[in-house]
Amino acid sequence: MSSQLPIPVPGSFRDPSGRVYQLENEIFRTVSLEFSSEFEFVESTGFFDKACREKLLLSFDKVTPDWFAAMWPEVKYVLKAPMLPMVSFPYEWPFLALKEAALLHLKLQLMALDFEVTLSDASAYNVQFQGSQAIFIDHLSFRQYREGEIWVGHRQFCEQFLLPLLMRAFFGITPNAWYRGGQEGITATDFKRLLGWRHYLNINVLTHIVLPASLQRSTLDKSLSLEKGSLAQAGLPKSSFKRMLQKLYKWIEPLAPADTGKTVWKDYAHNHSYSTEEVEIKKQFIAEFVREAKPGILWDLGCNTGDYSVAAMEAGAGYVVGLDFDLGALDLAFSRSKESHLPFQVLFMDAANPSPNQGWKGTERQSLASRAKGNALIALALIHHLAISRNIPLEDALDWLMSLAPMGVIEFVPKEDAMVKKLLSCREDIFPFYTEESCLTFIRSKGKVIKTVKTSQSGRLLIWYSRT
């Protein structure tokens, strides 16, 4: 028997049919006695096999660990699933990732119906990413389909997938901050208020937003009375259910952000102040670091469109998590990952305001820092944005970066550099301690400086650090 006991994973408590536990590096999902007949039904249809084979659903094994009977007498089955390199939440996804997740959900629901199976909800939190590949992780969301039943998850699908996508596609507004604040997506009632008259000409908008929102509103604060009547004859036939899913799929698939103009960083790769030679020096240094550190998971903070993430992967990094606050650049990085099938996952993050612990009891959705499992990090051209744009003391910023991974490469961008000059052009220089010397002194106080290299005439410095 293992010396440790499995720990419940926060955020898996909502569904009474089972819970998720972690034991060392393995994930276990319990199937309760009460829900087991539904699970057995779905298993008997062959749906799980097909969905796993097509990599839409996370593969799993039915196991009987020796400790489970004593620990969970009410549990009928235990499913073991692989750990994902990086758990992420929908408010951290760029547009294209959320779209990928939405399409995955619709594909799975359509496939499930062919097996007389349906999904019991439409939570975006049930989708995770392996690189740019969306994958469904909740095996207990599937149950037997009963002829005529409605799509229970429709409202949740709209709130957690469709409306955040439309927010960007219709108005060019990024929904991530709103999503992070409310956790459950955007309601049709709220979204309807944003619509202009021309949106009302769109039949999909009328069907999935205007009509449900109006009907919902009309049912509020009313006492109801009725004979049951002939409702047994009503319901949603399977053919209508499928048509609804297919139409949604066709609507969502071509959606694109409305703000297709320049965002801050996506043009950076072409317009920044580096010369090609500097880029090469950087790439070589990153490659050397990666070959030495051999990270299973590398975090690239301020990844932009992923140039250095790719350099790191080429040098042997197993999996790269790229983080940036520019959603336009992240969409390009996501497309790059998808086109080349790279082990490269991109997430939205404002380094000065990373995802906190939140949700129920403040533990349901874990903070970015507590999900940091990277063996190494690179943070190129990031420190000046924290220290100068956001007034975070240099030492604090370095301390935070070094806390995320035991080793890494941090780029120091001096005041002589054009980018920093620009940041200081309209404001007083209140940063006397923002110097290369302070940077190196602090890193040495927390660990070692393994190697440095100057990459530009202006004095940019790459610093390879190790905490030990």
């Binding site: 909502r14 569904d15 009474p16 049919s17 539904e38 019991s120 909800d121 149950r143 037997q144 009963r146 005529g148 039943e149 409605i150 799509w151 229970v152 998850g153 429709h154 409202r155 949740q156 709209c158 049709a188 069907t207 999935h208 009509l211 449900p212 929102a213 109006s214 009907l215 919902q216 509103r217 009309s218 049912t219 509020l220 604060d221 009313k222 006492s223 109801l224 009375s225 009725l226 004979e227 049951k228 009547g229 002939s230 409702l231 047994a232 004859q233 009503a234 319901g235 949603l236 036939p237 209508s240 609804m244």
Partner: protein, 77 residues
């Protein structure tokens, strides 16, 4: 929305709450979404809306409240 139509829709919602269409769900599908899907479901759903509308229409002219049978005050969360 017109008062009659609204009343009829409200009655349908009541019916939905009474009828175990989603007996296997642990998620509240939302009355707006449920009613939408009944309408998308076709003729039977529309007939129900019409019948309820008619019932509500008659009740209105007879000056009776339509509280003859089962009642519920279930509201949206």
């Amino acid at each position: 929305m017109k008062p009659f139509a609204e009343k009829a829709l409200v009655l349908v919602i009541g019916a939905i709450f009474l009828f175990p269409l989603n007996a296997f769900a642990y998620l509240d599908p939302g009355s707006g979404s449920m009613l939408l899907q009944l309408i998308l479901g076709g003729f039977a759903g529309l007939v129900i809306v019409f019948k309820l509308y008619w019932q509500s229409f008659l009740s209105f002219f007879k000056g009776k409240k339509s509280t003859d049978s089962v009642s519920t005050d279930k509201k949206e969360p």
